[in-house]
Symmetry: C2
Subunit: 517 residues, 2 copies
């Protein structure tokens, strides 16, 4: 058994069943080994940012890691932005990076490049396999490291000769550590804060954004009057009819100031105290209201659900959560606007949908429009590195082939990782992409004002403008084998969206939604 | 004057007149400052790999650096693969990476990420501006560092508050060091080798691939009988009628063994002794023939042209170079093949063309077909990180608006950085892209056999296959505002190519060329 075979067999034995890859010559033995381990599904991406983003989306839904397969430093470099988002999502990923043969590195061949510094920049786990006999153990350790709470990117660097060498050994899965609940005393102290009568907000994140955490948080709010918020960019948020609707903390500092106005205590569970996404001249970076005290119920490496449930048990033993009633907006009509397109989605969102949300400024009103829609998951842009939406949708659809995946995608962000559409077509994935095409980096127009920069000049304006030439995403999609259409009215969007979610396979709708700003 | 203004004015004063950028919030003051310094041209790319690759292509033609503008670690990550190629090309680039405000970094906001480790992986020059008053000096130092022979990527990290702060100072250009010719004794010793009567090969690279170096090398070959080769992947090679035709060293170890068979001495000038691109089981990595002695006439940091001219002066004082006669292949007819499409290019290549060559396996016969075509430049894939061709073509066209740029591009590689087409349309650049569309990672099929991996299984085959779904590059191009067409016969390719090079602005031809292998 060669190293590659021991690697793949060990991964499969550890529960890793999908490998998103974009291989090169140094990964050819890994590719060949896929045929000897049919339990591993290889999914090809045409660009590494698609590969790593798909692995992120897969694990957010599958709740276990996928592997990636990348080609030396440049391949890892291309995958870094998506891995940055995965890091912020605490997504487990087993990131396999092929390298030159050990004896070949000294020759500084053209693709010779630093790999460790790039991998280490992700603050995860990094190891280089030095011996074929160790590859299986390294793979098992990588899987365990990726799943060690709260989850991380584990990168295993695999030199070509270690991969093709003989003497590989399959190693049993190493069980990851389990997350622990916080100490009783911590829960008791925070319960006292909630009982103090002072204004309190509870900010939840991580696994508390799933049903159990949301229910417990809603009970706490109902019993104590505390405000409850979900972190601004949750990796996976369960929403819809039958679940508590808990507002997300805003993106803008001004929104957060409004939401947290007057509180004296901020309890965080699986989330960090809020900070501004960017710095702005003469505005605070720390968004905890002045004078408010922060109490950490649970960090992300702990069992956040157990933490909020314990707190609810203490302060809200007999209180029920508030659950959203089924409710859908009416189907709108007329030309698309930033306000009405979200009602189309809210009116038609299918049962069990997964929304990969990178609608940015165009999507501000999506939460309102979908609060009473059938139960669904929302995957958000956790790390701010744009280009996440399409790859994450792709991976989510691989993880949940029976669920409809809806990708709400900004035009500017879409252009980073557009070739995800080809993988969606190749794998016949049920992804409906709605491009919110406003011909602009609209968020930067907003940000330019907020940082106090002067956007009145033509050179500055031009750099935020995507209208020259206008992009036709339907054509681009068709070029990659995905049926594409264009909508400029709410009726067209509704008709095309309904057809897309009812037909198998991927579809793209290029929706001409004017900028909000 | 704020920091951003002092930065841009210093860059302009140092001769940097183009900034390829994809900015975010932390770069907004840089963007705004463009309007106060109209001498700096901002060119928007929709993805950072396009931005950095365009800067590479620009400098290969303009012989001076462009600036980039990138957004934190993820932006730099997206640009790394193209910067890797630029590093291998010794291209001067002033790489500006925006970062969070200095006081904001402590809050670990979502986009907080390591920048220095990524920049340092390029083995270039890295500095972080810590004070607004220093930004001008830092910029001048970055330009000088980028141009210090043989050229490199100089990365300047610019925190948002340093950029928006007041007190910026414009700093005069710092002259870069000039390259020195090698010592007379070195030249004399190598002249003796050439006079020894033993079989000698001269391998030239770097600036010796330009006319002066080629002429001197041809004279040396004619006077001494030495074989002369150009390095496998030159950053910029001048070719065509009226210039010496010097064969490039092959990509495959087997080719190199054939080319260097029997030599006892290998003289290198601006190039490294040849090594295998990848390691292959039981094949050597070092491609210098056994027993041959390597002599370094000049490394790339020295004046390589002066070196080969001095050598020619010593051993070939009265010898003329051999210059290619004007000669073009006949226009072929019938269905496109890996053999005949190159004759279309050779027959129709316009005067003064710049070829951005990422045709990979499909392009093996381009050099033969174009040897007697009108004088042109070839920019090759220096670092092996695919996705270079379209961005480099884009930058080259910005540098030389009056020259026709021809991008010969593989299908698989094109999908990495396809949005370069949008920038070509926006800037109305004279780039004609010919996609060699063989529906495969054909090079990997070749490599799989060469590394001894078994490609007979369906899983392995599938990962190298791009035919499901087939890609329609003409549609994708039209979606980005570039006129697209499809050719499946030589006549169609000729007709479309001729029209494309005669019409202003970009064009794309999707050429159905079957795989060579």
């Amino acid at each position: 058994m060669n190293g590659a075979q021991s690697l793949i067999r060990t991964l499969v034995g550890s529960g890793v069943e999908v490998c998103f890859g974009n291989p090169g010559t140094s990964e050819m033995h890994f590719v060949a080994a896929l045929d000897s381990v049919p339990e591993m599904r290889g999914v090809l991406g045409l660009f590494e940012g698609v590969v790593t983003g798909a692995a992120d989306g897969y694990a957010r839904i599958a709740e276990k890691p996928a592997a990636t397969l990348l080609h030396l430093g440049p391949g890892l470099g291309n995958g870094l932005a998506s891995l940055h988002n995965a890091r912020r999502a605490f997504t487990p990923i087993v990131n396999i990076v092929g390298d030159h043969a050990t004896y070949h590195k000294q020759y500084d061949a053209p693709l010779e490049s630093a790999i460790e510094p790039l991998a280490e920049s992700l603050n995860g786990w990094v190891r280089r396999s030095d011996h074929t006999a160790d590859v299986g153990a390294d793979a098992a350790a990588a899987v365990a490291a990726s799943m060690d709470p709260p989850g991380r990117v584990a990168t295993l660097i695999l030199p070509a000769d270690i991969s093709w060498g003989d003497g590989g050994k399959v190693v049993d899965a190493v069980p990851p550590r389990t997350a622990k609940a916080p100490a009783d005393a911590t829960v008791a102290a925070i319960a006292d804060v909630l009982r103090s009568g002072e204004p309190v907000a509870l900010l939840i994140g991580g696994s508390a954004c799933r049903e159990a955490g949301l229910r417990a948080s809603s009970r706490i709010a109902n019993a104590t009057g505390a405000k409850v918020f979900v972190e601004t960019f949750p990796a996976r948020l369960e929403r819809g009819a039958g679940l508590p609707t808990i507002e997300r903390l805003g993106y803008l500092a001004e929104q957060v100031a409004f939401q947290l106005d007057g509180i004296k205590h901020l309890i965080v569970a699986g989330a960090k105290p809020p900070v501004s996404f960017f710095a702005y001249p003469d505005k605070p970076s720390d968004l905890v209201p002045e004078g408010a005290q922060v109490h950490t119920l649970s960090d992300n490496a702990q069992d956040v659900i157990a933490a909020v449930e314990a707190l609810a048990g203490s302060v809200a033993a007999d209180t029920e959560p508030t659950l959203a009633e089924p409710a859908r907006p009416a189907l709108p009509s007329g030309p698309l606007t930033p306000q009405n397109w979200v009602d189309v989605i809210g009116a038609l969102l299918p049962e069990g949908a997964i929304i990969s949300d990178e609608a940015n400024t165009s999507g501000l009103m999506v939460p309102m429009a979908t609060a009473g829609a059938p139960r669904h998951d929302v995957l958000t842009l956790t790390g701010g590195a744009i280009g996440q939406g399409m790859p994450v949708a792709t991976g989510a659809a691989v993880a949940a082939p029976d669920r409809p995946v809806i990708n709400l995608e900004s035009d500017g962000s879409a252009m980073y990782t557009l070739s995800a559409l080809w993988t969606q077509a190749r794998e016949n994935l049920n992804v409906t992409t709605v491009i919110l095409n406003n011909n602009a980096y609209a968020i930067l127009r907003l940000e330019m004002q907020r940082v106090g920069a002067d956007l009145s000049g033509p050179a500055a304006k031009a750099l935020l403008d995507l209208s020259s030439p206008e992009m036709d995403f339907a054509k681009m999609a068709e070029g990659m084998g995905v049926p594409g259409s264009r909508a400029s009215t709410a009726e067209e969007l509704a008709e095309q969206f309904e057809r897309a979610i009812n037909e198998p396979g991927p579809h793209l709708i290029d929706a001409a939604v004017p900028p909000l700003l």
